[in-house]
């Protein structure tokens, strides 16, 4: 097969694909609020997916996500996009049941490329224990891929973003910096080893993390994706009516990330996330600009940010290290609501 770099097919602007959280919130504000006795989690709290109760001990989680290429290889991209879409099920404490492909593909590109992307997606769904049911493909100038996913969870075990309690400890399971590294890779500013490290991190499922959350009776978590650590933490803090304190020096990072920010590799999405969340963040004067922008870096298929009861926190970190998340670490704690939702020290 021809060796095509998917990143070369992406819009030259390169300033990433997600609408700003602020714009989206405004646009959604006009929609009618959906109320239904079986709807357990709706869009009201900006959670990761919706949850619909079928019976007293069985609820469906439904979610979808798709985006343009975030890495060069087609098989890698398929896996990353699928892991990212499946992640919303895990962030809600569920298991994957079924998935369907969502594919937009350029007419003038070889179909082998499409097949490789789909193979990546299928392999990830299989790894997640899910069943791929089919999908839909249309043409578009820039390829885009993702999944619509159905998962299940016991209604008493749903993990949302709205029950964080002061005293809970915040644990992040994957290192930050995928947005910065992919941006650097596109511009040939980073070694392939570092790029591979970012791709491997994005490909990793949050499945084992979700299992550990259920063992530790965690009820509040989210996954860190396009709105960055600050954006997703902010949604969680607001939905839970609490504030969160972060220790900037504890943030787990992919190699080279701070060096790249120092060079000026700050993707447009980070500035957009900053615009959205900055007014709710209080940064201690000791935090330098590079660490600040790290909080706003958009992640693809990032880790879980979980609120864990303080007495279980160390056990949770240990279990995460054991189950394939060597970077998992305590990065802060939930505190009573303050004038700022996020306090970074």
């Amino acid at each position: 097969m021809q060796n095509i770099d998917l990143l070369k097919l992406v819009d030259q602007g390169g300033c990433s694909a997600k609408l700003s959280a602020e714009g989206l919130a405004q646009a959604l504000a006009g929609l009618p609020k959906i109320v239904h006795p079986n709807l357990l989690v709706d869009i009201e709290t900006h959670d990761d997916g919706g949850v619909y109760k079928l019976t007293d001990d069985y609820a469906l989680i439904q979610t979808t996500d798709f985006f343009p290429p975030v890495c060069s290889g087609a098989y890698d991209f398929g896996q990353v996009a699928a892991a990212n879409a499946l992640s919303d099920v895990y962030a809600m404490g569920g298991e994957v049941l079924t998935a369907m492909n969502l594919m937009l593909f350029p007419e003038d590109q070889p179909l082998e490329l499409l097949a490789e992307i789909l193979r990546g997606g299928h392999d990830k769904v299989a790894e997640a224990g899910g069943v791929m049911m089919g999908g839909h493909t249309i043409t578009d100038a820039i390829p885009k891929y993702g999944l619509a996913v159905t998962g299940f969870v016991h209604p008493d075990k749903i993990i949302t973003n709205s029950h964080a309690r002061p005293g809970d400890v915040l644990i992040l399971t994957k290192p930050l910096g995928t947005g910065i590294i992919i941006s650097a890779w596109k511009n040939q500013l980073v070694h392939e080893d570092i790029y591979r490290q970012a791709v491997e991190s994005m490909k990793q499922l949050n499945r084992a993390g979700a299992a550990i959350m259920q063992q530790m009776l965690v009820r509040t978590a989210t996954d860190i994706t396009g709105f960055g650590l600050a954006g997703h933490a902010l949604k969680m803090a607001q939905a839970s009516k609490v504030s969160m304190r972060f220790h900037a020096k504890q943030l787990p990072l992919l190699d080279e990330v701070l060096h790249l920010i120092e060079m000026g590799v700050i993707p447009g999405a980070a500035f957009r996330n900053k615009e959205f969340a900055d007014s709710q963040c209080h940064f201690d004067a000791s935090i330098d600009y590079n660490h600040k922008m790290l909080f706003f870096d958009a992640q693809t298929s990032g880790g879980l940010l979980m609120c864990v009861a303080a007495e279980k926190a160390n056990a949770a970190v240990k279990a995460l290290h054991r189950d394939g998340y060597p970077h998992a670490i305590i990065i802060g704690e939930v505190i009573d609501k303050q004038s700022h939702a996020l306090i970074i020290e």
Partner: protein
């Protein structure tokens, strides 16, 4: 002056090249950044604003120009400030000249001291952010003052000079302003409030 032409370059190359130029440029050297992508321009502008680098932005057609002036602080100073400074007191200071001399007593001595002080300001590290001239202090910035050349040298190094417009008007010297810019009570109060310290003469 350096021109950084990043037209046609994908995000975040414009920012990377701006940052590189800022850290390599001699302190005070003006930089002109040429862009043709509104998002990139907004990101570069946000970065400069976040780091307290002063700039002006203009656009003609598709081309956007961001000018970092001679009085823009170098990034090295900026970094030092954000790293080391306690909040609200970043080592910055402004000088207030509310008289055309220093101290009471002999007018001759007072004027000589004012001249010596302004001359010495030029070698202070760091320089004041602003010098504010009020009441008879405005005589220092109008034609006939003996410190015009020293003040112009300070202005060229990026020191902002705020001159009380009401005072110039009172002395009939609006047209005789030789250095600095006419300002008002609101801006003057704001400048003094925002300063880490005010040196009051």
């Amino acid at each position: 002056m350096q021109i950084i032409d990043v037209k046609g370059k994908a995000c975040p190359m414009p920012l990377i090249e701006t940052k590189r130029a800022l850290s390599e440029a001699a302190s005070g050297e003006p930089l002109h950044i040429l862009l043709d992508n509104a998002t990139s321009a907004r990101n570069v502008a946000t970065f400069l604003k976040d780091n307290d680098v002063e700039f002006e932005q203009t656009s003609t057609g598709n081309e956007i120009e961001i000018r970092i002036n001679a009085n823009g602080k170098s990034l090295a100073e900026v970094d030092e400030k954000t790293w080391c400074a306690p909040e609200n007191n970043n080592g910055s200071y402004v000088v207030l000249m509310a008289k055309d001399r220093i101290g009471e007593g002999s007018a001759e001595l007072g004027e000589a001291l004012a001249g010596a002080m302004i001359n010495t300001l030029k070698v202070m590290e760091p320089l004041p952010q602003k010098i504010i001239f009020m009441n008879s202090g405005v005589h220092l910035v109008t034609n006939g003052s003996r410190v015009i050349s020293d003040l112009k040298a300070l202005q060229n190094k990026g020191v902002d000079m705020l001159v009380c417009g009401t005072c110039l008007d009172y002395f009939g010297k609006i047209d005789a302003l030789a250095v600095g810019r006419i300002s008002n009570m609101l801006d003057i109060l704001q400048a003094m409030k925002d300063a880490g310290k005010v040196l009051n003469f």
